[in-house]
Amino acid sequence: MSINRVPISSGLLLLIFLFQEAFVNRINFFLGGFALYLAFAIAWILREERSSAVLIGFLAGLIADLSPTLEAPFGLWTFTMTGLAFLIVTYVRGSLDSNLSPLTLSVVTTIFSTFAIALFVIFGAILGQDVPSFSVIARELIGNALWSFVLAPLYIPLAIRSHKLSLSARER
């Protein structure tokens, strides 16, 4: 990943983060909520090669850590997303068809955006954060999975275009 891609990737991720914080968070979704930003970042990571995916994961986590309503220590999302990005491109992306079908992309994105939240809660608990009851976490995870899958046709094309936009002419 060329260093030139960092500003444009960060900018695009920041825009989605802003949309999440200003608009998506205000919507009362049935069953928990929807982490558009996470789903978008995972869909983007799935299209990257290994080193770039880790760096995009790091940037995405760093931006997620900016959320003012976050109770967890700054850096926890960065840690979670960096590790998860490496896990996805190394152990999941490699075992899938090189041309991901939209359905596969939706399913994998749904699973890993939900898994990201679960990992975040676990790491938070390890660091001594207060953890909500199991039923609350389960509701949030199920709700997020539901909406990540249902709304995939909206955000996945956006993630694909954002990824293409961030590539240099030579990389395209």
């Binding site: 914080e21 069953l31 880790v54 700054f74 850096g75 939240i117 609350v136 949030e140």
Partner: protein
């Protein structure tokens, strides 16, 4: 070549993980630069959140209503009767009216207790990714709001101010798992601690095993030293279930909050309680039963 690429990725992974661990360590050690980043973000986000709040407010319930069509069928039928041209205006007015009703309620409550308050609109909520129960309001330190101030709504306690910027504040809701408030039972004055559990039901642990609790008992905030974080006498909730397990050292109960934390639009932050303790004066009035009209008809023998 592939091995070199893998090694490079692993090296990058390790260095980025170490960086994130460093950030976590700095934050946990209270380094001000790291801690103030979120305050700066809140200042930058506040105008967008205000705009988003205005835009989303009338349609915010859309997705939850979608899954509750049966429950809202009557409401939909009622709306269908209305003139199509006025529909958008009606929805907008309704939103404003709801906020005004909440504002009137909260000002009534604050006035009754003689609290000095500042009212604010809710402009954002904590998202799924944050796993925390919090809201963002559109008033901050420039309106006199400081950390650890009590936040109330029309029916009672909402939470406590967690952080502030010039024009916005983050409020930890009482449903947050880390939220604890000292309460007393209105009337009997038995004391206990109420804990958030991530939803509108809370757990109550009494300080005394001899506490006499019953369903319907009203809980009020006990107040803190210097009125921070809690002013006394604010209605918190009512007991809906008393756990009567034998062998317990203290009594425990389940409590329902007076405020529906999922639908708050306007809140007030208590700037100063003016040293007043309203006692039990803020206990919400019990609903009065509607009178049943009975009509006796005596048939006359001719009919």
């Amino acid at each position: 070549m592939a091995t070199r690429g893998t090694n490079r990725a692993r090296l990058l992974l390790v260095s980025l993980l170490v960086t994130s661990l460093l950030l976590i360590t700095l934050d946990l050690r209270g380094v001000s630069v790291v801690s103030s980043i979120r305050g700066f973000t809140q200042s930058a986000l506040a105008p967008f959140q205000s705009f988003g709040s205005t835009l989303i407010s009338p349609i915010g319930q859309f997705f939850s209503d979608l899954f509750n069509l049966n429950n809202t069928r009557e409401r939909i039928d009622e709306l269908e009767k209305e003139n199509q041209e006025l529909k958008a205006q009606v929805i907008f007015n309704k939103d404003i009216e709801g906020e005004l009703k909440q504002l009137k309620g909260v000002l009534d409550l604050a006035g009754k207790a003689r609290f000095k308050t500042v009212s604010a609109r809710v402009i954002s909520k904590g998202g799924t990714a944050t796993i925390s129960e919090s809201i963002v309001i559109d008033q901050g330190s420039s309106a006199g709001i400081r950390r650890d101030m009590t936040v109330i709504a029309a029916s009672g306690l909402v939470g406590v101010v967690k952080s502030t910027t010039a024009n916005a504040s983050v409020v930890m809701l009482m449903s947050d798992p880390s939220f604890r408030v000292g309460v007393r039972v209105a009337g009997s004055q038995f004391m206990g601690v109420l804990s958030g559990e991530g939803q509108n039901i809370f757990s109550l642990q009494m300080l005394s095993a001899a506490a006499d609790l019953s369903v319907g008992d009203v809980l009020l905030s006990r107040g803190s030293s210097g009125d921070a974080p809690f002013v006394p006498g604010v209605p918190v909730g009512k007991i809906v279930f008393v756990e009567n397990a034998t062998g317990q050292l203290t009594k425990e109960a389940r409590v329902e909050s007076f405020v529906d934390l999922n639908s708050i639009g306007v809140v007030s932050v208590v700037l100063d309680s003016r040293g007043s303790n309203p006692g039990d004066a803020l206990v919400p009035a019990a609903p009065r039963p509607a009178p049943t009209i009975t009509v006796f008809v005596t048939p006359s023998p001719n009919e």
